[in-house]
């Protein structure tokens, strides 16, 4: 049954990818890209990667689509007719594809438990991490503890992306008294419903943040979901109102604070006599130390991701509103 679902979902995915090539309306392309992300996440669930599916659904389908729609509002919907001839690219693509297909023939059969990838470090993680870390979710254990330094790098990359976007687009000004009212003013029902559901979304984000050790979830996903709640607020009630709730300057501070919180755990464990990010030293009992360490760094990840995603949205939304006024 699982194989059958896999077949059908992958076929749908391939068709969606093919359709994206031929559509000239960029709005339709972005809509199909949203479906594409949703389908990818479904495939991840079917292949047992629930944490990844969680991230892809929230980040890939949610934030990317919103950002792409914002860009389209600035750059226009129509793709112009291509001036290239499509013969040469087709030849290149077919040759590369044929070479890759030839390469896959040597690959291990899909799903076989004896594949080399399952023989090296994975058994160590699967057998020992519940004892060493004391958490049921192995993905969180590996992400936050065994590969904690790697994750610190990722968080810094996300932070750097925020700096890049802000230096390209600038930040919306705070405290404008005469900010033009915007938002979906004519949709009364939508405004009432949005008011109703924003607080449950934030509550759910907190649940994902702190339940990530036991089920799918964690800092990355929780940050994005919390940002999505405020993006919903900004979409329905207008950007100036959202900026009044959490301003971009405070968000910049938050993004840096999350990274620093993460790094400070590392330095604190060095101060306690361990290596960088060695949580065993954080408490008398190593397992309890791991718990504290993972809790704090997940919090740092969540804060940074929330601040970065929301601030990037602010930067794009500000551009859209400004071009709308002119």
């Amino acid at each position: 049954m699982s194989d059958f679902i896999d077949l059908v979902l992958l076929a749908m995915l391939a068709l969606t990818g093919l359709r994206i090539i031929f559509l000239k309306d960029l709005f339709a392309v972005v809509m199909l890209f949203g479906i594409y992300s949703f389908l990818t996440a479904l495939i991840f669930i079917n292949l047992d990667a629930v944490d990844v599916a969680f991230t892809e659904a929230a980040v890939g389908a949610g934030i990317s689509s919103v950002l792409m729609l914002g860009t389209l509002a600035l750059t226009g919907r129509e793709e112009k007719e291509s001036s290239h001839s499509s013969i040469l690219p087709l030849i290149v693509v077919f040759i590369t594809g044929a070479a890759l297909i030839y390469g896959t023939l040597d690959m291990e059969p899909f799903g076989n438990p004896d594949n080399p990838i399952h023989k090296h470090v994975a058994p160590r993680y699967i057998e020992d991490s519940p004892k060493e870390i004391g958490l049921p979710n192995m993905v969180t254990s590996v992400l936050a503890s065994y590969r904690g330094f790697d994750t610190l790098g990722e968080v810094v990359v996300v932070f750097a992306a925020l700096i890049a976007v802000l230096s390209l687009l600038g930040v919306p000004k705070e405290g404008q008294e005469k900010a033009p009212a915007s938002g979906l003013k004519s949709h009364q029902v939508l405004r009432v419903v949005a008011k109703l559901i924003i607080s449950p979304i934030i509550l759910f984000a907190l649940y994902v943040q702190f339940h990530g050790d036991f089920g799918p979830g964690g800092g990355f996903q929780a940050g994005v979901i919390a940002a999505a709640a405020l993006i919903l607020y900004a979409l329905v009630f207008g950007l100036p109102n959202a900026v009044a709730v959490i301003g971009p300057r405070f968000l910049k501070f938050m993004a840096a604070a999350g990274v620093l919180l993460y790094a400070s755990v590392g330095f604190f464990s060095m101060y306690k006599g361990g290596n960088f990010l060695d949580y065993n030293k954080l408490a008398a009992d190593p397992v309890a130390g791991q718990h504290y360490g993972i809790l704090i760094i997940e919090l740092g990840v969540g804060i940074t991701v929330f601040a970065v995603m929301l601030n990037i949205y602010y930067a794009f939304g500000n551009q859209v509103e400004r071009s709308n006024i002119q």
């Binding site: 309306d25 979906l184 004519s186 949709h187 029902v189 939508l190 419903v193 109703l196 559901i197 449950p200």
Partner: protein, 112 residues
Amino acid sequence: MLLLLDIISGILLVTGVFFGLSGAVGVFKLPNFFTRVHAASVTDSIAVILIVSGLVLQTPLGINIAKLLFILVFLLITSPTASHALAKSARHGGLLTMSELEKGDQEEKAPK
């Protein structure tokens, strides 16, 4: 008792799926956008109610029931809202209803 629960939830699931399929057919077969959005949104809501309650009957008491109920309530709030807002937006965007089309005897001017 357990068998009875199985039968009830089976009936709920199957009817839910039936409504889902009929909505999907309606989205293709009906002639006008407003009739299509009607088909999609009404059957969406009833399918969600039936399928989720069918699953609730199969779940032991615990956090999973709470999650299922949260999904149910959330979808029941947001899905009709989205359909309503979409139909309203289409109306402002210039789509005409069927009766208006007959009255004015003009072709549906559809933005592509």
